[in-house]
Amino acid sequence: MFFDSDLLMSALRALTPILLAALGGAICERAGVFNIGLEGMMLMGCFTAVTTSWFTGSPWLGVLAAALAAAAYSLILAVGTVTLRGDAVVLGVAMNLLAVGLTSFLLRTIFGVQGTFDDPSLAGLPLIGGLSPLAYLSWAAVAVAAVMLSRHVWGLRLRGVGEAPDAAATLGVSPAQYKYAAVLLSGVLCGLAGAQLALGNVTLFTENMTAGRGWIAVVAVMLGRALPLGVLLAALLFGLAEAAGFRLQGLGLPQQATDAAPYVVTLGALFLTTARRRRRVRPSSTGATS
């Protein structure tokens, strides 16, 4: 059988880190900050989670520390774009590069090893129903984010800041405050994503272990149009594509072809969603001009 519970579990394991990071990216996007530093923030989360869990013996403290450390790291983006009005893309790329160098450097300094830190006594997260508790948290976070962004005053103001900062400012809403909050929140979520990867999916730290998951999250934000539910669906699509890719190798498909699975799915989904969106937009826009 091709579609079975193993495939689903594999997809859900792949989903969690991407989903958490993508939610953070979506919140930033809604506040008008284009965050492509997800990968770097996540990697900081991975490293802090492993280090803290190793020294305290508690994976939960590891999760907490990862969230805090990644939030602190995200301040680079917040201060850089909001206060200093720098370019978010430049900053994001720099943060990703810095994270790889910094974590590799700290790995050597703290643990005296290169490449990978792995120890049988490193405590990972427990499993509930085959999944890490952070998986359930990520689903709850989708629901909370969806309600906050569409119903709660905080979310509505955040969107206002993102869409028309000047208008929001005239109404007494401080764009800077909301943008800072959004970036810090994305830091927390990326930290959790990193903790999930390093203490949930596996229990170890490897240099550059995020391996492009932060970039997949950036694409999930775009594909899901920065809507929490859309992001969930997009991330789930990637998770399923990856898990199915592994299966297809078992059926004799070459690795190079199965590697392409997530990207083929992305292109397909982009094509379908834009085609549908265009069809919907066209009549109304012609109606407006006539």
């Binding site: 193993d6 594999s10 394991r13 200093l84 720098g86 590799s104 050597r108 391996a211 592994f246």
Partner: protein, 349 residues
């Protein structure tokens, strides 16, 4: 508007500084001058791609150059690199010092050596575990026949498998990396012809670092009842070990003794004896056979298994408890060494 763009520039500059600062920390090359007996004629320099530290692969190379120096009554130096920038600097420093032979370990040096060899035609270079694409009269290469060792590990797996299913998790589907998976299947089938075999490739955006993906790949094999897995996924090996340990299955490591990473789970390792390659490589250069590529396998002692080396008992490897399996594997090794049995090389041709 002008003020704004100046600020953007400022931020960009600060970030650039930050990034350089972080990499600069790594760039501080650690030159470790080894014990040198002054006044001797022959001298060798070893340049490593990374800090030696606990890296068994490089530790062996260091002991190789030390015994070469002893043998030829010469002196030796070790330059440890920490990143690409310091690799360049160290090779330059080694060339400036003009030793008899400069030994470099790893594919990282192939391009750097090609440049230096052209500029310094009188300097002898020896690259271990890689080679330049163009041949030079003053560049010798020592490469390994990994597939011979992997074949023996496969034989162990075939003998130890209870389910009769033996698999491998490999990095990429290329001929060079298939040396770690195809011979594993062949070895298992040699001792147990009915064995089912399968290989999964990690792939993805960074196949060498992605332990989570490697673990998932291992899980798909384990779910189908595979109970012996060759782990050839670079840093992903640790993910493979986690998966096999959770299922009570067994794994096989590469390059160095990885049994310590998961005692009771890792059966054996295909190891590269860089010390043998360094020693014999230097010897052949001094004998006037420079500019050639020599491959090291079971016969030359360049490739081995942890189980076939001294110190198996303390290696924490599962194979230490299976003397009967080791006896059979030794037989196969002798057949390969004598040429009675040849292992197909997926990277040949």
């Amino acid at each position: 508007m002008l003020r704004r763009s100046r600020r953007t520039l400022q931020v960009a500059a600060t970030t650039a500084l930050l990034v350089t600062a972080a990499t600069a920390c790594n760039a501080a090359a650690k030159d470790d001058a080894g014990s040198a007996s002054a006044g001797s004629d022959t001298s060798f320099t070893l340049v490593t791609p990374d800090a030696v530290g606990q890296n068994e692969f490089l530790k062996l190379a260091v002991s190789g150059i030390k015994s070469a120096a002893k043998q030829h009554n010469g002196s030796q130096k070790v330059y440890e690199s920490t990143d690409t920038a310091s690799q360049q600097q160290n090779v330059q420093a080694a060339v400036d010092a003009k030793p008899d032979v400069i030994v470099l370990v790893g594919f990282e040096f192939a391009d750097i050596v090609a440049q230096q060899a052209e500029k310094n035609p009188k300097q002898q270079f020896l690259i271990v575990d890689a080679c330049t694409t163009k041949t030079f009269k003053n560049v010798s290469c020592a490469v390994f026949r990994e597939h011979e060792g992997v074949f023996l590990a496969g034989a162990e797996a075939g003998l130890l498998s209870k389910s009769g299913k033996v698999g491998a998790v490999d990095v990429l589907d290329t001929p060079q990396f298939r040396r770690y998976s195809d011979p594993f299947a062949a070895g298992a089938k040699k001792v147990a012809p009915k064995t089912t075999t399968d290989t999964r490739f990690v792939g993805g955006q960074s196949p060498f670092d992605d332990s989570a993906r490697a673990k998932e790949q291992a899980d798909t094999l384990l779910a189908k009842g595979y109970d012996q897995l060759m782990a050839a996924a670079a840093a992903g090996n640790y993910g493979v070990f986690e998966a096999t340990k959770a299922k009570g299955a067994y794994a096989y490591g590469v390059d160095v003794n990885q049994c310590t990473a998961a005692p009771g789970t890792v059966v054996d390792n295909v190891i590269k004896r860089t010390d043998v390659a360094v020693e014999k490589g230097i010897e052949s250069v001094l004998d006037g056979k420079a500019g050639t590529t020599v491959s090291y396998g079971l016969k030359e002692g360049g490739i081995s298994l942890t189980g076939l080396e001294d110190g198996v008992a303390t290696s924490k490897c599962v194979i230490a408890d299976h003397a009967d399996v080791l006896a059979k594997v030794k037989e196969l090794r002798d057949q390969i060494v004598s040429g009675k049995l040849t292992v197909d090389d997926p990277a040949a041709g």
